[in-house]
């Protein structure tokens, strides 16, 4: 055995979020996914001589919103820089980005992974512009074997926010949870489509390993091309193991960018990239500084919606168990509104949450619809009828079906579908009496000590009342009469 401690992975994640503004970051071209190539382009985003950028104010408002939701400090004063590099996907040969003074810095995000909550630091969130899309042609689209590249600049200049975590992530599961939680927050803020499959949110991971939490950081490797949360987790997991194996066999990890191959399940080396200093960042002379005054910042803060983790905590405070509150928290917003409305209408929070995440979600799936006619008041009314023994659990499912189809109030549906539980003690008693009179041998067997015959008699009463008697009440009444 070596004298050294166990390997510890050190992971940082960069998340790129495309903002869903109407127009691009620095020009008036439309932002749209799936438009014909090169139809949303103009002199500015094509870098034609003399064209000048002008900042989209809404993007600055939205990055501030993201920063506040990620518990960041908001810089009162920040500036744009040019990041210079040669690549065909940006016609200017530089990307307008931010360097030493980003709009947002020093935040954090709590994420749940491996059964615990960990706080992941956010280094910064800065504003930049997206690049065009390159399509590599030849040999199955594989980047290294391409014979030519096709370029679509519709995406060039779309507002892009890069969120950089601190190297606080320690496992592949945490990496995935961080990415998922961040996506939930951004989706809740309604500032991005936040769709992985359309590339409106993208992840890169920086990974190194070291001998225990006290050791210095190892050499880090950047991995790209993870198109789902699952592939992010797999890629990080693979890369951790690859680095450990490399080091344990006496090799070294080299600083490079590696490409995740989803099908093969491996990362492979891309060309070594220009070091950070080679980007020759300098202040963008065509744009004036951005000032987010404390007054503007607080105005933006006031527009923040309830965030997923806040919602989960609120549900827990209402006594909803963690599984259900998780389901409810990520449910269709109309279902969350239904829950809040039902609570205000006096419903018990636990039963409301259970019915919504259980029966109602199942009904929507079965009916393949997002449209429900159920009002919070009707749901509360139905739950009260269950509590008052006017509806059995199975009859309530039937009532719910009627409510979801907009057939009226809970009582109206229960009446029109003939589902009300018999609450008239006299009627139940006469049904019990009739069943006892019709089954003298069962009565005799019970009195001879055969207790289980009660089950049969309850069944007979339920049948006689078309299932509308409360079986518990029937059971009690039968035992009284038989003893």
């Amino acid at each position: 055995m070596t004298e050294t401690a166990a390997w510890e992975p050190v992971i940082g994640i960069e998340v790129h979020v495309e903002l869903a503004t109407q127009s691009k970051m620095f020009c008036g071209c439309a932002v749209g996914f799936g438009n014909d190539p090169n139809t949303n382009v103009c002199p500015t985003c094509l870098a034609l001589p003399g064209a000048l950028p002008v900042t989209n104010g809404r993007a600055i408002e939205w990055i501030t919103k993201i920063g506040l939701a990620l518990n960041c400090e908001i810089s009162e004063w920040s500036v744009f820089h040019r990041k210079n590099y040669f690549y065909a996907d940006l016609p200017k040969n530089y990307q307008i980005s931010q360097f030493d003074i980003p709009v947002c810095h020093d935040g954090w995000l709590d994420v749940d992974a491996d059964g615990e909550t960990v706080r992941i630091g956010i280094e910064r969130a800065h504003q930049e512009e997206d690049t065009g899309k390159s399509l590599h042609i030849g040999d199955g689209g594989r980047i290294h074997a391409a014979t030519e590249t096709l370029l679509d600049f519709n995406r060039a200049g779309v507002p892009l926010v890069e969120v950089v975590s601190k190297p606080d992530i320690r496992s592949a599961a945490q990496a995935r949870a961080y990415a998922q939680t961040l996506r939930e927050v951004v989706a809740e803020l309604d500032v991005s489509d936040a769709r992985l499959e359309e590339g409106s949110i993208r992840f890169d991971a920086n990974i190194s390993v070291r001998r225990g939490p006290e050791a210095e950081f190892g050499t880090k490797v950047e991995i790209k091309n993870m198109n789902s949360f699952r592939s992010l987790e797999r890629a990080v997991d693979f890369e951790i193991k690859r680095q450990i194996a490399e080091l344990e066999s006496g090799g070294t990890v080299i600083q490079e960018t590696r490409h995740w191959d989803e099908e093969a399940g491996v990362t492979s080396s891309m060309r070594t990239k220009e070091g950070s200093s080679d980007y020759r960042y300098f202040t963008e002379p065509d744009l004036v500084p951005i000032v987010v005054s404390p007054a503007w910042r607080e105005e933006i803060r006031a527009t923040l919606p309830e965030l997923p983790h806040q919602r989960k905590a609120r549900y827990a405070g209402l006594g909803v168990d963690s599984q259900t509150s998780l389901a409810l928290s990520s449910a269709d917003p109309q279902l969350r509104d239904l829950f809040d409305g039902a609570i205000s209408a006096g419903a018990d929070s636990r039963s409301a949450a259970n019915w919504i995440t259980g029966e109602i979600v199942a009904w929507m799936r079965r009916e393949e619809t997002d449209s429900i006619e159920l009002t919070p008041e009707h749901l509360a009314e139905m739950l009260a009828m269950i509590d008052g023994n006017e509806l059995s659990a199975s009859a309530a499912k039937d009532v719910l079906d009627g409510l979801l189809r907009g057939e009226g109030t809970a009582r109206q549906v229960a009446e029109s579908r003939d589902l009300l539980q018999m609450t008239d003690a006299g009627a139940i008693e006469s049904a019990v009496d009739a069943v006892l009179a019709e089954n003298p041998d069962a009565v005799e067997r019970y009195q001879g000590g055969e207790q289980k015959v009660v089950g049969f008699l309850v069944g007979q009463v339920m049948r006689a009342t078309q299932g509308k008697a409360d079986p518990k009440a029937v059971n009690v009444l039968l035992r009284e009469k038989l003893s």
Partner: protein, 96 residues
């Protein structure tokens, strides 16, 4: 004070293919510029407000409004090669 510059590296970053004599000329010119900058840097700025920008105003924003784009055919006509609405370039990854 002469400043050491890796002029070949700078040329490579800018994708400039320069002859030996041109490299020499540019090295000395760039060196003169950097020496000038170093002189500015050595000035006493005690009590001077730091500045990120020469202009005296901030927050020049546009409203988030679509103002239209160029005609694609006109745009593609400017490029050396295009196909199916795309610009065509040599394979990006092997460009050096």
């Amino acid at each position: 004070m002469p400043i050491d510059i890796d002029i070949a590296h700078v040329a490579r970053l800018a994708r400039l293919d320069l002859a030996e004599q041109e490299l020499e000329t540019l090295r000395s010119q760039l060196s003169a510029i950097l020496e000038h900058a170093a002189k500015v840097q050595s000035l006493d700025t005690e009590g001077v407000e730091p500045s990120n920008h020469p202009l005296g105003f901030v927050n020049a924003f546009r409203a988030d409004v679509v103002t239209g784009s160029l005609d694609r055919d006109e745009v593609l006509k400017m490029a050396p090669a295009s196909r199916d609405g795309y610009f065509v370039t040599p394979p990006a990854m092997t460009q050096d």
